[in-house]
Symmetry: C2
């Protein structure tokens, strides 16, 4: 039998993937599972946009241009203008989800063995895309004590080598919810200029900023036109994860040219979903205002509940719909599995993402987990009940464990 | 300014991409361009399938499972059964077009520097996907004189090295239209077993077989369960190129596991398009029967017209909707560009794909071109008129050229 490739056997997966079979078993056994492990919101996709799909009069569902429909890219120009980002349609390549934009960016800017600096914990799938492109991820550790704020710029500078080609951040951050300020970005920009690095910013949570903070896009950084590459997606802002429409945005002509070549290779982004995506840009701001307000309320629920749990360390995240939490357990992975396998509270349990998989540095995040506040306030409250009760019960469970088996 | 990657600058593109600006200019100048250069049919997408998209009652367009909706994969099992292929839904991974299936297959089976044997001319985008995966393409040359029939198996065996991991073919073939028989596949199977190779078969043109020939899928090869990986797509058979729905099909568990990991990395295939794809499998056979008959007629038109053109060598292709043609010109690329830039017949011209880009061996295919018979019979006739007149006129043009500038 011919054998699978080494890389195929070793694609790094999402931190919660190992737990999925346990969640499935729990559900088969009749337990309700509150999913706070994945960024799939329960918010409805805008009805107006779905209606445009329903009313399409297509006769031939043909390839769209490889870089996406011009009409959609033109509307995206207007969309970005609301964030004081000045672009032309040629600066935008429509991609199959943000995932493909990450891949195009990495392939266009890195050769085999090149290095990218990423503050950790980070969106774990960056590891997989880095593996496809054979690039090396150099992590810079952030800390829960300061809400995972951007580390001092010296920490980044210390790991720059002659193979370093860029810095990759997510703003607002997944998995930490950290909001990076204009000053943060300007510091990174200076470093990128000094060492001639690309600055990749995954801005898919751009719309979800709280406490009156104004989002500052990396595309606004002066003099950084050739350095900045932004990854975007409609998945989160319009609760349209299944559409698979994202974008790669940059003013660097070489990168645009290379990414366009990769885009042509796979012929075109999804056609039906581009109808939906374009329609979202014909709507007013009501939908987004309501959704942001809804997430803001959920954020408060999670923060307030976590604050009241003994031994739990968390913080009020500034953006996105995630927070990280340090739990009074030795192994969050064991705890999360136990939650699904052996625990229930009033017939329900909660699923979290163990923290370790969001770090590239071995050993970090073992007592941490990511919480995605993607359920309505009622369900979120119930999920927090589960977590609170479970932490109490688990104390006794953990005491019975051999130290090694918990780690 | 940070520089683009070496690979990003060198993504190999489709053979006709260089001609696109000339086609655009021709159209701007008011010339009608008959596009026989691209596999985008003018056939309508099945109305029934489009209607199911129109009638969707989605409220949240959520991620589908990474491997695709189970309901769709179950129906695909029935679809494949019509071709005497026995599968379970677990053998099928729904992909974002056939393109993604090619990529998943390559990444799952090849490590950097591994080699794949491909009969040439071949679908040029295989080069690009091979570049992403850093695998080496070893071509085996086929010849127009025998309709690009599969070369003797010894030719394949002669290029097997200790880095060879598989053979990749397209059946029926793009760009040649060659139909590979059961015997052809059995020969390849014996070689793959002897050298423990994967056999990749891109079967996206499965439905388009003519002259009563019965399609024989590689998935039917006995004892080859762990060797065969099939690439599929709804793009061509349902004229739904813009849907971006394909599939990777194999019974090799290691490959399924690896490809599933790559599938999870990009979260899910397009959701709206899966509604369309599933609906196509609820239709009767009328649509496909009519479409196949339509292509068959177009095939005859092209074949008969080419036969009548002095100095032109072609053949009656057995499948798909392409044929290759040897032209009485020194450089098909120069001729194709001249067709767009300097020629018209009754206000129209024709665009073909120059042949050279379909070969991996340098220098081959210079006087050849691919014709995609994807226009209706009337337009196809007009396009053939253009070609016939153009070949006459071009004789004089070529005579004026310096030998070097034509090559």
């Amino acid at each position: 039998m011919p054998s699978t490739s080494y890389r195929g056997k070793n694609v790094p997966l999402s931190p919660f993937r190992k737990l999925v079979p346990f969640a499935d078993k729990a559900k088969e056994a009749g337990k309700h599972v509150y999913h706070l492990n994945i960024g799939q919101p329960d918010i409805e996709t805008p009805l107006y946009a779905l209606q445009q799909v329903r009313e399409n009069q297509l006769r031939v569902l043909a390839y769209s241009p490889a870089v996406g429909q011009l009409s959609y890219r033109k509307k995206l120009v207007d969309y970005y203008q609301k964030f004081d980002i000045e672009l032309t349609p040629d600066d935008i390549i429509v991609t199959t989800g943000g995932s493909e934009a990450i891949q195009f960016a990495m392939l266009s800017c890195f050769d085999i063995g090149d290095e990218v600096i990423v503050p950790e914990p980070f969106y774990a799938n960056y590891n997989g895309f880095a593996q496809i492109g054979s690039l090396l991820v150099r992590p810079i550790t952030c800390h829960i004590e300061d809400g995972f704020a951007l580390p001092p710029i010296e920490a980044f500078e210390a790991v720059v080598t002659d193979k370093t080609r860029g810095i990759f951040i997510t703003n607002p951050n997944n998995p930490t919810g950290c909001f990076y300020t204009r000053e943060d970005l300007e510091k990174l920009a200076r470093l990128c200029k000094a060492y001639d690095l690309f600055l990749f910013v995954d801005e898919v949570y751009r719309e979800f900023c709280y406490d009156g903070q104004e989002f500052f896009s990396a595309l606004r950084l002066e003099g950084m036109e050739d350095h900045v590459i932004v990854v975007d997606s409609i998945s989160k802002r319009y609760s349209a994860c299944g559409a698979r429409i994202g974008a790669l945005v940059t003013r660097n002509e070489g990168v645009l040219e290379a990414a366009t070549r990769y885009a042509k290779l796979r012929l075109s982004p999804p056609g039906l979903a581009q109808i939906l995506a374009e329609a979202t840009l014909d709507m007013g701001t009501d939908y987004m205002d309501q959704v942001t307000e809804e997430y803001n309320r959920r954020r408060q629920v999670v923060y307030n509940r976590l604050k009241g749990m003994p031994g739990v360390v968390s913080y009020l995240p500034g953006g996105a719909f995630y927070c990280f939490v340090k739990l009074p357990v030795r192994s969050a992975e064991h705890f999360c599995q136990w939650l699904l396998e052996s625990f229930d509270h009033e017939g329900a349990t909660v699923m979290l993402s163990p923290g370790e998989g969001f770090y590239a540095t071995p050993g970090l995040g073992r007592d941490e987990a990511r919480i995605a506040y993607i359920l309505n306030e009622h369900d979120l409250g119930k999920a927090m009940d589960c977590l609170e009760v479970a932490l109490e019960v688990y104390k006794g469970v953990e005491a019975q464990l051999e130290p090694v088996s918990a780690l």
